[in-house]
């Protein structure tokens, strides 16, 4: 039986729909830079939801192999699932081919994995960073449904629009006229990452607490951390 409502209530009310939404945004910002013989991927360490903080010490970077690190932000459930699936696919590949997957192979595979969920996507902004077959640094950035491209630098996540223009200016030498294009050193790249995260934490409420930078070289992956504003 339908509930008795007044004529106005019936004609002026909105149709009711489903209230459950499968995704949440857990915030966070990631940044990757490729150098001549190194690769950097950094993220803040804050996990948030709305105006609440779930954790102040939860980096958004995940080591996939000796020479590849993934940074991923967005819906944390999908971030973790993507990591889990990638880890198992990597292991299967190692057992079948008796060698570790190259960074470009992981990138191509990740693209197909994400497009496989074209109609119920992984709600994540991911960036892969590592060393390519020639020992040079490489960065691959993805959209939520797997469109990807190799780049020299990319920022992703909630403060990406604040960071990307500065990277264009300082690493891409855009709008700088006749400035000589000096190759990027590891020290300069590290200093740049620290500066941009400090700036991002000033203006973006979802970025803060700390930074975790993964430095990938021929010798493997090492981590550096430093604190950010906690407000």
């Amino acid at each position: 039986m339908h509930e008795k409502v007044s004529r106005d209530e019936y004609y002026l009310s909105q149709p009711k729909g489903a209230h459950w939404y499968p995704y949440e945004d857990h915030g966070g910002t990631i940044l990757a830079i490729a150098g001549e013989d190194f690769s950097l991927v950094g993220s803040d360490t804050r996990l948030s939801e709305g105006f609440s903080i779930h954790s102040r010490d939860h980096p958004h970077t995940y080591r996939l192999s000796e020479k590849t690190v993934m940074g991923s932000v967005g819906f944390h459930g999908d971030v973790l699932t993507l990591k889990k699936l990638l880890d198992s696919r990597l292991k299967i590949y190692e057992h079948e081919h008796n060698k570790a997957m190259t960074t470009s192979a992981i990138a191509a595979m990740l693209s197909t994995m994400m497009y496989g969920r074209r109609f119920f996507p992984f709600y994540t902004n991911t960036i892969l960073a590592g060393m390519d077959e020639n020992g040079k640094g490489c960065v691959y950035s993805f959209d939520p449904i797997g469109s990807y491209e190799r780049e020299l630098f990319r920022a992703g996540g909630s403060a990406s629009s604040m960071l990307q223009p500065l990277l264009d200016n300082q690493i891409g030498f855009k709008n700088q006229g006749d400035v000589p294009h000096t190759p990027l050193t590891l020290e300069k790249a590290l200093a740049l990452i620290k500066d941009v995260f400090i700036s991002a934490a000033e203006r973006d409420i979802y970025t803060g607490d700390g930074v975790c930078i993964n430095i990938i070289t021929a010798d493997g992956v090492r981590q550096e951390r430093f604190p950010l504003r906690r407000d």
């Binding site: 403060a159 629009s161 604040m162 960071l163 990307q164 223009p165 500065l166 264009d168 200016n169 855009k174 709008n175 700088q176 500066d195 941009v196 700036s199 991002a200 000033e202 203006r203």
Partner: protein
Amino acid sequence: MSIMSYNGSALVAMIGKDCVAIASDKRFGIQGQTVSMEFPKIFEMGPQLYIGLPGLATDIQTVAQRLTFRVNLYELRENKRIRPKTFMSMVSNLLYERRFGPYFVDPVIAGLEPVTHKPFVASMDLIGCPMVTEDFVVGGTCSEQLYGMCESLWEPNLEPDDLFETISQSILNAVDRDALAGWGAVVYIIEKDKVTTKTLKARMD
């Protein structure tokens, strides 16, 4: 489709040592279509007082015209130049009068105090909530990009030439990451005895 991003704009104002700078892009578009590359968004309201108006193009022009009218009457009645802080309150009042049917602009104000020549910048939302800062203010469709650039590049007590370089790099790199803003940029450097206008060489896409 948001009303504030229907036409596209970029505005930034910065404080330097005894000077202020204000810069804007020059695009006038209707969603994706660019209609003009010479659409000014910065208006002079006094010898060392400028207002930048990002937002809906028709309201940019209407607010600028109505504000000029009010400032002229003020200067006739009071027989003095309007001070930046007073001007800010005047803009706030004009916008709040339209609280429930607002002008779709987010003004950005830059100027020097008439007697002390102290630098001043301020911004407000479309219903006139004012905000005065000691460093910089931004507005427009690429405000996040501008925040990122300004936060990294700005430092206190920049001389006029250095302030010009800083504000130019901020706006050029920010609009290059926004499809709706760009197509040229103009910068005003306001010092106590002169105002320099420079048009920047920018990507025209």
